[in-house]
Amino acid sequence: MNSRFGFYLIIFILVLAGISLSWLRHTKLNVPLQPGQQKAVWLIEARVDFEALGKAVRVSLNLPDNPPGYRQVSGQAASTGYGFAEIEGPEGRRAEWTKRSAQGSQTLYYKAQMVADPQAEHEKEQRPQTAPEPKEIFWDSLQATAAHQLVEQAYAKSSTPTSLARELAKQLTASEPDQNASLLLSQYSLPTLIMRLLNHAGIPARISMGLELRDARRYQSLQPILEVYESEHWIPVDPRTGAHGLPQNMLLWQRAGKSLLDVTGGESSEVSFSMLRQTMPALDLARLQQDTDGISRFSLYSLPIEEQSVFKLLLLLPLGAMIVTFMRIIVGIRTSGTFMPVLIALSFLQTQLFQGLSAFLLIVALGLVLRGYLSKLNLLMVARISTLIVLVIFLTSIISVIGHELGFSLGLTITFFPMIIIAWTIERMSILWEEEGSREVLIQGLGSLSVAIVSYLCMRMDIVRHLTFNFPELHLVLLAAILTMGQYTGYKLSELKRFGVMRGRS
């Protein structure tokens, strides 16, 4: 009883580990669960123009740092003659270009690939360590009175920082704004004004810069976005409607009021953006992010391409093994040789089903004929099988050449068949034929082939190939299934037929 419990515990752990590791890989590394998934990627190009003064130049551009709703896939700078580095500092992520001396108008580019990822918002947000203090705001006396009244009206109608922002927005965007509003609006832009009013009311608020992502736009500039601090989060608020949350396709490029662009050794600098919407296979996307994360170490993509292709095939084997286990333990199909069906199925994968099947049947049939002659020679067994291997290789070469002459691509396909396995199959089949008759040969042969075809059909599915290679940990689940089947003591399906005569007895 105790060992049973331990066994099922192991099964449970295997299944749990397999599924949770895959899930982690799916969510953290965004490895898609299905093959051929396409994802939208925004290619954003920031262009910095300035006039260099002939001195040492240092340009520092703020880069988006974990913007909510987006994830950066790649980033690169294109600017000849400049040294470039991406710097993670207390100020956040910044791109820095440097050059000893430059003269005249200069253009620097930074390209980033961003992918929309709703989860990034929750996971990667950097929470402020301490609650930010509201900024101190200075008004002239007339403004101060107007601001005070506006805030008081809105304060009475609100309960939270965001609702206060909404009420302020309502008042300021009313079709007939009152005198106080008009006065202040004449001097400040709408987002700035609300930011000032909120800070005036003792509520931390700030202006961040966002980029509206629209396909194939050029020379776009950043737009100010109002952010209000409420319950430990900075919440974007639309100053025109008071709605909170980011508008769709809005990428927060620069947050927390840091400077967007610093240029030393140059003047009249400006930054503009162009963008392009691309689609790209989700798998490639995941691969681009490989080296960033710890779990990616498990990935087989770190291997050389040559070995990857070997593993692609090799990792299909456990599935075949499971199918054989199922077919033999649960269904009760008789096969010649335990795992020969899987090997046949693997060779079908290299070929096509039809060509592989006909080549296999042809060679085994011819081999059986030759084996019939060999049995008359009274050879010792090892010599007999060795002879058979040589003959099988002759046969395949002849068939390949003939196939090639006739224009079938059969030749290449057969060479993948493991010769020794074919020779052994022929040997076992012919002994079976002599001892048990053709019926048993047919039963076992058809059994082997049907299991091979079932395994082939499973292994050929794109989703299966995708999952086995990209989520190798799923093999733990397969292992658990095989172990569980190994404990199955019930009747085989074939036994229900075999003992069918017992029907109707008590």
Partner: protein
Amino acid sequence: MWIFPTALRRQGFLGMNRRNVAYISRYNTRSRYPLVDDKLKTKLQAEKFHLATPQLQGVVRYQYEISHFQHSAANLDGFAVKPSKGAGGKGILVITGRDGEHYIKSSGKRIDIHGVKRHLSNILAGLHSLAGSPDVAIIEDLIRPVEMFEKLSFAGVPDIRVIVFRGYPVMAMLRLSTRASDGKANLHKGAVGVGLDIGSGQCLHAVQYSRRVTRHPDTDLSLDTIAVPDWKELLVLAARSYEITKLGYIGADLVVDAERGPMLLELNARPGLSIQVANGIGLLPRLREIERIDPDFVPSPEERVEFAMRTFG
């Protein structure tokens, strides 16, 4: 003709998976398999424990010994040639007499000395052995069946298969070869399986190709009247095979010789399940009955047989 698994379970039928997991792998120690997989070893072991087996006339181990075979077999009228590691009755050649230069097979066909030599060579090469490994050929005395059995069987000697679990005989059947089975005793080839009452050795039920029969298809003799002679002695012999092998779950194949009485023919560590069909009942309830017996209680073979005859009769 399919049957629901619940119906099979209700009848206590043992399935292949349960046999492998719950009985063979639990009660049979792997290291003792060679003793039963190799008939020569079984025979020598049986002789050591004074169990009756067909008399060994000779062993052919090497290819060069085959040429001497003619001389050594000259004074034998009838003999059986068997591969030591054969399974399922494969590669057994039974010579019942001679006709000048030729030997007469049990089927009545003739075979010349070259045919016998080729057969021996094939055995040595491992053609009939379990994993195709090299083998030796055993030559042993012919069994002279008792009169009743001789009449029953189409060709060849009927044998009795007893399932012995932890030394207790739990189920038995008589296997009669038929014309369809080509003189072989394998049920799936068309031999008649006669389920025997453990208590008395009388026929309970008989099948051919899983169908119930009451008469032998070739000799047309009624099967219902069968009662195996020396029944208790036979069961004791089967039960004692537990002492010589220490294997918990085995099938013992026995024959009854006209002169020497019950003899052990061979043992099988993976006995088939069709004995249940021949008996028309499942093995499981009996196996469970035996499993209830405390392993520290070690009765003698006679006591075990008496217990089995009482309980399963």
